[in-house]
């Protein structure tokens, strides 16, 4: 492998139902930063059936170039044709970095592609930067520059590790949704769009989709919420989440929860914050009756403002809370709701 041949930062622009996923724009934003550090461009790889129109949106959020792989075989996500699309793009265009979202799609697609082209893949990254490897000079070992340093939590959030891929290209990472920032939107920005079709020939590796069942509940994605009112086992019962609902309503917030609440069957999984749920970084995170297991903290500690209410003063949630109140949530939360209602009424 001639590493010097590999140039440019590529990102997989995930779309579902011909709508770009949030992660696609987050990756374009991060890819643009990395490209700037490397003095190169960010290219979005758009894969689907009839998705050309999405190229303008990618451009508006910072993509310099869009490679479009458009084919009827790519209408719904399936591992094999999508892996073929990305592997073919990598073989033809030789990017030095390739980023994929750590979504249910990306965490299936990324490994398949990296195995096909023989390169390293770092899973579920929360931080990406350009730097040296080894980070500090080691006698007798060449220090390589302009390497992608990929940082991720591991071992249940107990540690963080920074990974490099010095001898193979592209340097691939899946990136946790909700962590990287989109670039500001520039209306009317245009990207160079290049169409590329490597040809798709179905074989036994093309699985057949018999049925697609969409979730019936139309819930707000907790990853998009500006304010989250999050409840844990300490809330006591599914009925008692009513006091959280009331608080959320007056603040225009969304209710989320900890894993214990999902395991108890009180709330659906898509409201779960944490290592095995979603990573959130709202402006305000209320942690109510949440003790703060390390796996939970991993999913919310980047929130701008964390307010915790818990009766146990030793709860680990207080280690990350900006403001921690030791007290009875059953008394504080309803009273807070009433007070906020009065404040809002006085303001209007």
């Amino acid at each position: 492998m001639n590493i010097a041949e590999y140039k440019g930062v590529f990102v997989f622009a995930q779309q579902v139902d011909n709508k770009l996923s949030g992660i696609a724009l987050e990756l374009v934003g991060k890819g643009k930063d990395l490209a700037k550090d490397l003095g190169t461009e960010v290219t979005a790889v758009l894969v689907g059936d009839g998705v050309k129109d999405l190229a303008d949106e990618l451009a508006a959020y910072g993509a310099d170039k869009v490679i479009l792989v458009d084919d009827p075989e790519l209408k719904e996500y399936r591992t094999e044709p999508y892996a073929h699309a990305l592997a073919s793009v990598i073989e033809k265009y030789k990017p030095e970095i390739f980023l994929v979202g750590a979504t249910a799609i990306g965490r299936d697609l990324g490994p398949r592609v990296s195995a096909r082209i023989h390169t390293g893949l770092t899973a579920d990254c929360t931080q990406l930067e350009i730097g040296d490897f080894p980070i500090n000079p080691v006698p007798g070992k060449e220090q390589l520059h302009n390497q992608l340093l990929m940082t991720r939590p591991a071992f249940g959030g107990n540690t963080i590790a920074t990974i490099a891929c010095p001898e193979f290209r592209p340097q691939m990472a899946t990136v946790r949704p909700g962590v990287m920032q989109k670039a500001p939107k520039v209306e009317g920005a245009k990207a160079v769009v290049e169409e590329f079709n490597p040809g798709f020939t179905p074989d036994d590796k093309y699985v057949e989709i018999l049925e697609i069942v969409k979730s019936v509940v139309d819930t707000v994605d907790i990853m998009d919420a500006k304010i989250l009112v999050s409840g844990g086992r300490g809330v006591g019962s599914p009925d008692n989440f009513k006091i959280l609902d009331d608080l959320a309503e007056v603040l225009g917030a969304t209710v989320s929860c900890s894993r214990a609440v999902v395991d108890a069957g009180w709330k659906p999984k898509d409201l779960q914050v944490g290592q095995t749920g979603k990573t959130v970084r709202p402006n305000v995170y209320f942690a109510i009756g949440i003790s703060g297991a390390i796996q939970h903290l991993a999913g919310m500690e980047e929130s701008d403002l964390i307010i915790a209410i818990n009766k146990d003063e030793t709860a680990p949630i207080f280690d990350v809370a900006d403001y921690g109140i030791v007290g009875d949530l059953n008394k504080i939360v309803p009273a807070l709701t009433e007070k906020l209602k009065a404040e809002m009424a006085a303001k209007n």
Binding site: P111, P134, I163, C165, S215, D322, A335
Partner: protein, 260 residues
């Protein structure tokens, strides 16, 4: 039908973790369990065995101590256990691990390979799909229901807001979620038999179609630049207040931060 299940012995991360000086995990120093998603995969295989009749072979890669998870699997009802262990396999990333397991599985007949979605130590979810790629078979990740129909497997595959019902021709690899089922307990007779059962132990020489340059730490494209205990942001204020004071306190903070 022949089913291969890949399992991993993992540190119980609830008890904290310890590292070697080179940044890799000191697996010898921690309590271990069978990885939860793998256990669900094993249970899924055992249910297929109960329903359709199957021979279930469990494969693990690890230190000699990893034979414990094979015995546990056999006590649950697996038929055979294979431990892939060799000094040259140490320090493997997901690429080298998947190369190793694929090299071992090439010795076996299989209709279905089941792995857990991800292990609780690495949380990568990469090894299952990478094995399928090396073996040139289809993969269905995130399985929430599995059934067999003729020479095909039909799987409900979970996505964020939907699931797909997928049909793949066997052989096929499936990755299982811990939510898939409630794994059975070991039976007393099973435990007794499992602890007397002969396990198969394979070293490097048994791996088929794998280059030395793709094994262990040397065969791993990814390298650890730095590993450290997580630095958490410091705690802010913690106050103990009666409810009325608490409410005033919170409202005051929300005002200061321009939330309201």
């Amino acid at each position: 039908m022949k089913i291969v299940v890949c399992v991993k012995q993992v540190p119980d991360t609830k008890g904290g973790v310890k590292f070697n000086p080179d940044g890799t995990l000191d697996r010898g120093a921690m309590l271990t369990i069978m990885n939860p998603d793998d256990k669900a995969g094993l249970e899924a295989a055992l249910r297929l065995k109960d329903q359709y009749g199957a021979e279930v072979t469990v494969v693990t890669m690890g230190l000699p101590k990893a034979e414990e998870v094979l015995r546990e699997a056999m006590a649950m009802g697996a038929d055979k256990g294979i431990l892939v262990t060799d000094r040259v396999l140490g320090g493997a990333d997901t690429w080298a691990t998947s190369q190793t397991l694929a090299g071992a599985i090439r010795n076996l007949d299989y209709d279905l390979i089941i792995t857990g979605r991800q292990a609780i130590d690495g949380d990568t979810a990469q090894v299952g799909p990478q094995i399928s790629e090396h073996l040139g078979i289809p993969v269905i990740s995130y399985a929430q229901k599995i059934r067999i129909e003729g020479d095909s497997v039909i799987v409900e595959r979970q996505f964020d807001d939907r699931y797909h019902v997928l049909k793949a021709k066997m052989p096929c690899l499936i990755t299982a979620l811990a939510e898939l089922n409630e794994p059975r307990y070991m039976t007393p007779g099973g435990i007794f038999d499992a602890y007397n059962a002969e396990l198969t132990v394979w070293g490097r020489d048994k791996l088929v179609d794998v280059e030395d340059s793709n094994l262990g730490l040397k065969g791993s494209p990814t390298q650890i630049a730095r590993a450290s205990d997580k630095v958490r942001k410091g705690a802010g204020e913690k106050v103990t207040l009666d409810p009325t004071e608490a409410v005033d306190y919170i409202v005051d903070k929300l005002k200061v931060k321009h939330v309201i």
